[in-house]
Symmetry: C2
Subunit: 333 residues, 2 copies
């Protein structure tokens, strides 16, 4: 096989077939599934969740993950936070002419390994090649289908509800930024890229009626998710600064760049709004999952600033967390 | 709204929200569906088809269509040829910084109009922005879900089966190539871009047991589809040159460029393999559909060259139609 992607790899001809057969299908496997065309699938229920995401992260390899791992986990998490069990995903590649096929293989292997661990099947795909200078190595779209194992039961968010997260914030964004800009760091910065469907299932199975809302705080970070929840509502979201888990390394780089970690993308985190009385027990369940060891209750819903998200600092000050106008960290996912 | 796409349009912030609210959601509509996250969907059956395709065609506007129309129809057709009724599609945009938002709107309107006409709902989406020189105006991924209204019933292809197509070949590829390279043409070259789910439903509803195979001959054209069908099999595919509908304008440009129309991409065509005894009646049904007025029986399955596709010319000569090694026409879809 060629060492570099050539325009012919995106044709309908033999080069494309070879790439699909010898690389993509070999890695993703599954004689019963089709990688290059529609897949025929059987679902246990007629009610599904459907999502799509294109990943354009740069660099494509970063501490804690790569674009392939991100592409699988991002879509798995989008389904999981809807309360659905992710089952099938697609993989559509846009390859830049000249891209290293060894790197492609690493990325596909990473996708396969992550999909296996998440329990999803990669069942259909597409491959396009664009000329040099019309892409950036590789962009990956993953779309996903999840099934609902029970009817979605979601009660209204009310004052007093608690805001939980399954660990430290800002790791993904800062790891990618540091790698991209070769910022000096102790090497401790690492993306939190992970699939959360198993953790989420434990929580929703244990507390089906107590979960009011779940969302993965990717682009725009935790602050943007809280803005989304509170926008136009009669309640606000108050965060307790001292409860928010942030690694010192992340704090350091954020401080250096003048960025608030609450706006930095995460790729292995879920923000959960849960009823007050169940919050501590939910926290216990989360902490027993490998992806939730540092879970914390980071805030609560209240009525002090309706429609707003704000943070109460350790010394008692309060600061609004507005939705940012534009992005601080481009191409983080 | 800004006139050009800026990096902030791909952030998790206000600019992205405005783009989604004021442009994408306004055009795609539907208060019951989410455009920027997972959609929760109800399916009538548990058996589905799932497909994905990224469209990187250049130029993005061409005679007979645009990248948006192509993106909807391509995915609708991928589902339809599987025998599924397309119901839901996703829309993931990769926008290049500096892309004209007026053009974006035209493309989204085109997607919406085509989706409405095909009877599919655009239910979930994603928007990423890449820097100038890391994309090419706009790439669109559409993934799609189709449902099976009956259990797929597909009998084996056998010698004697007929090969049908719903009209002229090569129109899409030649229209795009001519537009891209500003080739002199009478202006008669026009993409055949169309959704075929309605035509296909008529055929499969009328002749459920007679259809052996359906495929849309996009990249690689009709010749590549026939290679796919016959590869490693005990039968071959014989085409009758005089029966293959090709517009004179397409013949002309193909001749000039030294390209065989059988290898040129179509975006509104379906190749159908059907049992001999039903072929003429299927042809009649196809001809009564707006997208099948020039339908023809273009060949048959035989055993003369097992595993091969070949063409019998008007003067009785025979020529093999091998799978091409690499692409003749890049970025045609």
């Amino acid at each position: 096989m060629n060492k570099k992607i050539l325009p012919g790899h995106g044709s309908g001809g033999k080069m494309m077939n070879d790439l699909i057969e010898n690389t993509i299908r070999r890695i993703f496997g599954g004689s019963s599934v089709q990688i290059d065309d529609s897949a025929v699938l059987k679902l246990p229920h007629g009610r599904i969740a459907f999502t799509t995401d294109t990943f354009t992260v740069t660099p494509i390899f970063f501490p804690g993950g790569d674009i392939g791992r991100l592409a699988v986990n991002g879509t798995v998490n989008d389904l999981a936070v809807m309360g659905a069990a992710p089952v099938y995903i697609s993989c559509a590649l846009v390859l830049e002419e000249g891209f290293d096929t060894g790197d492609l293989e690493k990325i596909l292997l990473s996708m396969k390994s992550e999909a296996d661990s998440a329990g999803v099947s990669i069942v259909t795909g597409d491959t396009k090649v664009v000329p040099h200078g019309r892409g950036d190595k590789i962009y990956i779209n993953t779309s996903g289908i999840g099934v609902f194992e029970r009817d979605p039961e979601r009660r209204d968010i009310v004052p007093g509800d608690r805001i939980l997260i399954n660990g430290t914030i800002g790791d993904h964004g800062m790891a990618v930024m540091s790698e991209r800009n070769r910022l000096a760091s102790s090497g401790a910065l690492k993306s939190d890229c992970a699939h959360l469907n198993h953790l989420i299932k434990k929580v929703t199975d244990s507390f089906p009626g107590a979960i009011k809302f779940m969302r993965d705080p990717t682009r725009g970070g935790v602050a943007s998710v809280l803005n989304e929840i509170t926008k136009g509502r009669s309640f606000g979201a108050r965060l307790f600064e001292e409860n928010i888990p942030v690694r010192n390394e992340v704090k350091g780089v954020c401080g250096m760049l003048g960025i608030d970690p609450l706006y930095v993308a995460n790729e292995g985190k879920v923000v959960i709004i849960a009823s007050k009385d169940a919050a501590e027990r939910i926290l216990d369940v989360m902490k027993r999952d490998d992806n939730g060891l540092e879970s914390a209750i980071i805030g609560e819903i209240d009525e002090e600033f309706p429609g707003k998200a704000y943070i109460e600092t350790e010394i008692g000050g309060k600061r609004l967390l507005p939705l940012l106008i534009e992005e601080q960290l481009p191409r983080i996912c």
